[in-house]
């Protein structure tokens, strides 16, 4: 999905292609998704995001059918700004706020995959440690205690930061899923870890191969 201020949409398309699937560029202004089987909301600054990241994107014409699709089990991955959009759209609980250090941070981040049984993570081992670029200015995941306990209790924390949290996220949360597990929000950027040449690893590819497998399986 490309919003006017999307930045990593080309990377997302590339990652989907490298995973062996056919990438379909979507435009925020189009109400109807051409028959795609899964949607990636890429990183960037969807509408400038001076107000709150994702606050305005949530109202994009295309978001209606995405929200609708997500509620009916369509796999949706929100990366960075995409994660923010999913939270603003209430498809995922909590919110993302300014980094604790109040600086944009871009670095190679170690993560632990906490759930290897969502459609987006099935190609990982439970507890697998991966290295994926993290780059955000508003990546601090916050929610009230009840919500956090619920997320933990229902095993909806998909990935956690290792080596200390880089942005002030509560309980080191780097990614979460909805109850059904088809909607995943992730602050780090797997689409930047799909080629040896350009990434710190190719660990990110598994997010995209995971969803492809689960889709061809059904």
């Amino acid at each position: 999905m490309t919003f006017p201020g999307s930045l990593d949409d080309q990377d997302a398309l590339r990652a989907v292609r490298l995973a062996g699937a056919e990438p379909v560029p979507l435009w925020h202004g189009d109400k109807w998704l051409s028959d795609v089987q899964a949607v990636v909301l890429p990183g960037g600054f969807s509408y400038g995001d001076y107000l709150r990241c994702g606050a305005i994107a949530r109202f994009a014409p295309a978001m209606e059918s995405i929200i609708d699709g997500a509620r009916h089990g369509m796999p949706v991955l929100g990366i960075c700004n995409g994660f923010q959009v999913l939270c603003e759209a209430h498809l995922l609980p909590g919110a993302l706020i300014r980094n604790k250090e109040r600086k944009f941070v871009c670095r190679d981040q170690r993560l632990r995959i906490e759930r290897a049984d969502t459609v987006w993570t099935s190609d990982f081992e439970q507890g697998q440690q991966v290295v994926i670029p993290l780059k955000n200015g508003e990546g601090g995941y916050v929610a009230d205690e009840r919500t956090l306990d619920e997320l933990e209790g229902q095993g909806r924390v998909v990935a956690r930061y290792l080596d200390g949290d880089p942005n002030g996220s509560y309980r080191g949360i780097a990614g979460i899923s909805n109850v059904a597990g088809n909607v995943v929000g992730l602050m780090p950027h797997p689409e930047h870890a799909v080629e040896d040449l350009t990434g710190p690893s190719t660990d990110g590819l598994s997010f995209f191969t995971s969803v492809l497998k689960s889709l061809v399986a059904v």
Binding site: R52, A55, F59, A95, I97, V142, E145, G168
Partner: protein, 76 residues
Amino acid sequence: MARVVVDVVMKPEILDPQGQAILGALGRLGIEGVTSVRQGKHFELDVEDGLDDQTLTTLADTLLANPVIEDFTIHR
């Protein structure tokens, strides 16, 4: 034509890195007597008199503030 102000602040239970940083800087500046700082957003809207409170609330509630982490007050 009327001026409406909407103030948005983080819910108390959510930590506020900006407020914290300012509090820290105060120390370095040698300014004493400030015990807490919280940073929020301040919106000044020019609205036509026709615009009803209902609409304003929706506006604040869906766009200007994120109810999950923020509270807002409207001054009309």
